[in-house]
C-alpha cells in the first residue's frame, strides 16, 4: 500500500535552520546539511527546505546548502522560498533539488506552473498555498508574500486551477494554525484533498503525534509536514512512524542503516 509521507521541514536562513512562529520570532536550530543527513538516516520520507532569506546574496548561500545536502541524502528533497521564475527552477534543480515549491510567483504568474511542468516534469512542481479563514467563515482565502498579502481568492478555486495547470502536488499551509501547535486545520486539508486528484501535503499547526494521525486520517492528507515536533530528540521521526503505524496508518518503517 502507498504510505502516507512524513516530511520534516527546515526553514533555512543564511545557511542555518530556524523555525518561525507564525513566520516571525526565529530561533536557531542548527546546520541544515547535518540535520538533513540525520533525517535521511532516521527514515524521514522526504525533506523540505524553505528559504526565508530576503536577498539574492543569501539565496546563493541556499544553493550551496542544497548542493551539499543533495550529496548526502537518498530521499526526495523539495526546496522553496523566493522562487520567482524558470531560471530559479533550473538553478535549484541543478544544485540537486528534486522538487521546487512555488508560492507567490505562481499566484501572480500562473503560466509558470504549466511552463515548469512541461519543461521539468509535473513531479517537480509543488505549489505552496498559504490559506487563511475568511472573516465570514465561508472558507479560506489565499494569502501570498509569506502571509503578508491577502488576495481575496478562494483556496479551493485556486487549488483546482493549480492542478489544471499541471502541478504535481500541493503544499497546503494553514496560516491560522501555523506556529500554534494546536493541530492541523483538518477541514481545510480535507476540503482541498477531496476536491483534487493530485497529492496534498498538509502543513501548519503540528504540535504532537495525535495531530499527525488526525491529518493523515480524517484530514485525508497524503503527507504531513512538520518542523518543530521533529527538530528535537534523536528518534522523533521513528517515534512518530511507530505511533502512526500502531494507529493503523499506512507508514513506511524506518529502514536499516548501511
Amino acid at each position: 500500500m502507498l504510505s502516507k509521507r512524513i516530511i520534516p521541514c527546515l526553514d533555512v536562513h543564511e545557511g542555518r535552520v530556524v523555525k518561525g512562529v507564525q513566520f516571525e520570532n526565529l530561533s536557531d536550530a542548527g546546520d541544515p546539511v547535518e540535520i538533513a543527513a540525520h533525517y535521511d538516516q532516521g527514515g524521514a520520507d522526504e525533506l523540505v527546505f524553505l528559504d526565508i532569506s530576503a536577498s539574492h546574496e543569501e539565496r546563493d548561500t541556499l544553493l550551496d546548502t542544497v548542493r551539499q545536502t543533495a550529496l548526502r541524502i537518498a530521499m526526495p528533497l523539495a526546496v522553496g522560498g523566493g522562487v520567482r521564475n524558470l531560471d530559479d527552477f533550473t538553478r535549484l534543480l541543478r544544485a540537486g533539488a528534486d522538487k521546487i515549491c512555488v508560492n507567490t510567483a505562481a499566484f501572480r504568474t500562473p503560466g509558470i506552473i504549466s511552463e515548469a511542468s512541461h519543461r521539468f516534469g509535473q513531479q517537480c512542481v509543488v505549489i505552496a498555498i498559504d490559506a487563511r479563514s475568511k472573516s465570514d467563515n465561508s472558507g479560506w482565502e489565499v494569502v501570498i508574500r509569506g502571509g503578508r498579502e491577502p488576495t481575496g481568492v478562494d483556496v479551493l478555486e485556486w487549488a483546482k486551477e493549480v492542478e489544471r495547470l499541471g502541478a504535481g502536488e500541493i503544499l497546503l499551509t494553514s496560516m491560522d494554525r501555523d506556529g500554534t501547535r494546536m493541530g492541523y486545520d483538518l477541514e481545510l486539508t480535507r476540503s482541498v484533498s477531496q476536491a483534487l486528484s493530485i497529492p496534498i501535503i498538509a502543513s501548519g499547526g503540528a504540535g504532537n503525534l495525535d495531530h499527525l494521525f488526525e491529518v493523515l486520517s480524517s484530514g485525508e492528507a497524503d503527507a504531513a509536514l512538520a518542523a518543530s515536533i521533529f527538530h528535537f530528540g534523536d528518534h522523533a521521526v521513528r517515534a512518530a512512524k511507530e505511533f502512526l503505524a500502531a494507529q493503523g496508518i499506512a507508514i513506511r518503517p524506518v529502514p536499516p542503516l548501511p
Binding site: 500500500m1 502507498l2 504510505s3 502516507k4 509521507r5 535521511d40 527514515g43 520520507d45 543533495a70 550529496l71 537518498a74 530521499m75 526526495p76 534543480l93 541543478r94 540537486g96 528534486d98 521539468f120 516534469g121 509535473q122 513531479q123 517537480c124 504535481g168 502536488e169 477531496q194 483534487l196 486528484s197 493530485i198 497529492p199 497524503d222 503527507a223 513506511r252 518503517p253 529502514p255 536499516p256 542503516l257 548501511p258
Partner: protein, 214 residues
Amino acid sequence: MKSGVRVAVVDYGMGNLLSVRHALQRMGKEVRIVSDPGELLDADSLVLPGVGAFRDAMGELTARELVQPIRDYVSSGRPFLGICLGLQLLFEQGEEGGQSVEGLGILEGDVVRIEVRKDVDGRRLKIPHMGWNQVRFRDSGREKFHGIPDESHFYFVHSYRIRPKDESVVAATVCYGTEFPVAVSRENLFAVQFHPEKSQEFGRRLLENVLSTD
C-alpha cells in the same frame, strides 16, 4: 563491482541526473555522464534515467542519435539499468493524449496512463502515484533484490505504467488500485519504475546488486 569500473549515466536532457550520480558516487562508483553514442557504447555498465514525457524523451534520444546505440549496448550483455522513464522507454509504444509514440522496442508491450482511481477499499487514489510503496518481488527478480526483504518500500513518482506482453520478464509488482509490474529483468537488462537513488538503504542495495559486474 570492482573499483575503477565505470558506470555511465545517459544524459539526454530529460530530468535530473544528479541524484543518480550522487547515489552511485556514495557507493564508490566512478560515474561518467554520457550523451554521445561512442561513449555510451564504451560503458562498463549503463544507467538510463529520466523523468517526464515519453514523446519528448524519444525525440531527444532520436535527435542525439542514441536510439540504436542503446539497443546495441543492451545486446552487448553488459549491465543495463533503466529507471522510471528509462524503464518505460524500453517498450514498443507509449501513449500520450490518446496518441501512440514509438519507443525503443527492446521489450514487447506498451505504456499506458494509470486509470484506476479507487483503491480496493474504496479510497480515492491520487495521480501521480507519488511516494513510498511496497514492492512485491517475483522469482525472476530475486537475485537483483538480494538482501532486501520482500514488500520493502521504494520511492515512486509516475502517472503511466508498463504493460509487458511477456509475463516472464516481470521482476516485481506494486499495488495501487490494481497490481501492476514495476520491474523487469531479462538477462543483463534490469529496469524499475521506482527511484532506487531516492530510496535510502534498500535503493542502495538494489543499485549495488544490479550494477555489479563481478
